[in-house]
Symmetry: C2
Subunit: 195 residues, 2 copies
C-alpha cells in the first residue's frame, strides 16, 4: 500500500519513529500536498547533485565550494571541523574569514573511522603546500573529538603549522552544533595555542 | 543554493523547525542517500496518487478504499472519526467490524470548517439510504469534538439512526490518536447511547 510505503520512507529521517512518520505522511496528504511535491523534487535533486568540495570536503554542488573558491578568504588560517553543521555554526557565530576543512566525522577506531575516512591525506597535502600558518582545531569537546584534536595537532606540527584549539568554555561532552551562539563565539575568539 | 532549498523544503513537515530541517538534510546527504532517493520517489507518487475514498473519505489510492469495498464488514454500524489516524487507531485497538466515515476535521466555524467541509451531505445521503442502524460517534473529547458529536447525533436522529458516543474515559481534551490502546479499546467497548 502506497500510504504504508510513504510512512516507512519517512523513517529514513533522523529521530523519526513510526508515530512521527505517520503524522508526517498524513500531514502532507491532508494539508501540504504542494509542499510535499516540492520536497520530493528538491530531495531527489539534492541527493543526485550535492557532493563534496574537492578542497574542504563540505557539501557542495560544484567541484569547489563557494568559500574555497572565494578570493576574499585568508588562506593562512585553516579551521578543521567535524561536520558541515559545525562549519555553518562557526561561519554564523564568529567573524572568521579563513578557510575550512570538514572531516565528516571524528577518529573512532571501533567504528572503523581512521585517518583515511577523515580525508587526512588530503589535509596533509594541503599543509605540505606551505600556505597555511595556523590550524584552528574545532573538533567537539567529546572524548573522540579530543583524540582527533591531538592527532591533528601532531599532523600540523609535522608540517610546521601552528595548531590552536577553541578555548575551553564549550560545555564538556557537548556537540558543537548545539552550543549557543555567544558561547561559541567567545570560545572561538579566545582559542589557545596547543601545548 | 540547493542545500538551502532542501532545508526549507523539509519545513513543510509537522513540528520541523529550522534546526531539525537542517539536521534532516545533513543526515540524508551524509548517511541516507539511498533512503532519501526512495523517500523522494514515494512522496512524489503518494502526493500524486493518494486521494479520498468516495464512500468514507479516508485516504485511498482507489476510488473506494479496501474497508468500504470489503464484503465482510457490517454496514449497519457506521463509525464517524475526525481523521484517518483516528480510524487506524480504532481499527488497530478494537475488534470493530463495521464501516467508517472520516470527517477530515471537526466543526470549527471560526476556522471556516462547517458541515460542507466535513462532507456531511454525503453522510446524510448515506444515512437516508436506510442501511445504517447505529452511528458510533468517535470524535475527540475536545470542545469542538463534542460540538461536532452533538451535530452528528441530531443528523443521525433525523434519519432514524441511533447515535452512540465512545464512553467517557477518554482523557479530557485528549486527541484520540494519542490515547493508549487499552483506554481506547475500553472506551470503544463501553460506548453509550447518546441522551
Ligand atoms: Zn570547499
Ligand atoms: Zn472507504
Amino acid at each position: 500500500m502506497l500510504l504504508e510505503e510513504l510512512i516507512e520512507a519517512f523513517r529514513v529521517l533522523p529521530g523519526v519513529g513510526r508515530k512521527s512518520a505517520q503524522r508526517m505522511a498524513y500531514h502532507v496528504l491532508e494539508r501540504g500536498r504542494e509542499g510535499g511535491k516540492r520536497l520530493a523534487t528538491v530531495l531527489a535533486e539534492a541527493v543526485e547533485r550535492i557532493g563534496h568540495c574537492a578542497q574542504c570536503r563540505d557539501f557542495s554542488e560544484d567541484e569547489v565550494c563557494a568559500v574555497c573558491a572565494s578570493g576574499s578568504r585568508d588562506r593562512q588560517q585553516l579551521c578543521v571541523v567535524e561536520t558541515p553543521a559545525d562549519r555553518l555554526a562557526i561561519e554564523t557565530a564568529t567573524g572568521y574569514r579563513g578557510v575550512y576543512f570538514v572531516l565528516q566525522g571524528r577518529l573512532s577506531p571501533l567504528d572503523g573511522v581512521g585517518p583515511r575516512e577523515l580525508g587526512l591525506e588530503t589535509l596533509g597535502t594541503r599543509l605540505a603546500a606551505g600556505e597555511v600558518s595556523e590550524m584552528i582545531i574545532a573538533t567537539s569537546a567529546t572524548v573522540e573529538g579530543e583524540a582527533t584534536a591531538h592527532y591533528l595537532a601532531q599532523l600540523a606540527r609535522q608540517h610546521g603549522v601552528r595548531p590552536s584549539r577553541l578555548a575551553q568554555g564549550l560545555p564538556l561532552g557537548g556537540e558543537l552544533e548545539y552550543v549557543d551562539r555567544g558561547t561559541l563565539s567567545h570560545a572561538f575568539g579566545t582559542r589557545a595555542e596547543m601545548p
